[in-house]
Symmetry: C2
Subunit: 156 residues, 2 copies
């Protein structure tokens, strides 16, 4: 069996990429990680069309990555805020890996716009590939892909 | 200054997400990592429309993530193959983090379809957040974002 004998869509990358379906979804999740919670604030910061933001948020809520919660505001109609669920927070390594790549390959001449730091020691935080025995993986030659029970062969 | 005072588009996540603009781009990069090199093979495995694949590959080539190389085939018109550049290979932690999330949150009842293993020791490889002092970061409370020289305030 080779890689292309397996069904493309059954792969965990395909399933995840189907949720983070476009750059807006990634940026919405990024802003939620950074504490932006209100629809209007997301819309204003991202410069996204309201109908696109509505559709993306609805998808993220339906997929269980985001909670939509009512917020009572004195004297005004009820509002909602959006917060990441546990599954949403589990996207943190994805966002940090994307951040790392952009810092290295798409910084302008002034360097990266921001650095994610460890609160305790102040050092920069990056996504690393590490095996369960604790070995750091530096390049692709060090890994191989093993099919498991959830693998699906392509149907002709 | 708060997060929303900064320009959304100048962020390294936004710049990277603008290249990996949709799920097709992610799946093309995944297949290139797995050794699929020819247009027809990519098209067949992904089930993607040819014009969409052409546009996505052209973008990935223009952005320096993929090399398009001529391949001489005896007695046939010249062909091309597509291979990841160094910058393309640097996306590995992004792909593995996406894979990890899907394995945890989108596996069917048969479990994950595949496992990425360390070739030397056979243990599973995952994306971890680690600071430059070697501390593993387990949750978001352990990090803070520090603006650097490349940060851009929003223009009103």
């Amino acid at each position: 069996m080779t890689w292309t004998d397996y069904d493309s869509g059954s792969c965990s990358i395909a399933r995840t990429a189907g949720i983070l379906a476009d750059r807006w979804s990634v940026l919405i999740v990024r802003d939620l990680f950074n504490g932006v919670r209100r629809f209007d604030a997301l819309q204003d910061h991202l410069g996204i069309a309201r109908d696109v933001l509505t559709r993306r948020l609805n998808l993220l809520v339906a997929e269980g990555l985001v909670d939509r919660r009512p917020v009572a505001v004195e004297g005004r109609r009820s509002r909602h805020e959006y917060v990441l669920t546990g599954a949403g927070h589990d996207l943190r390594p994805v966002l940090v890996a994307i951040l790392d790549w952009g810092d290295v390959h798409r910084s302008g001449r002034d360097g990266p716009p921001a650095s994610l730091r460890h609160r305790d020691c102040g050092e920069a935080v990056h996504a690393h590939l590490v095996c369960d025995a604790g070995h750091e993986i530096d390049d692709g030659a060090g890994t191989r892909l093993v099919p498991l029970g959830g693998a699906r062969l392509r149907t002709p």
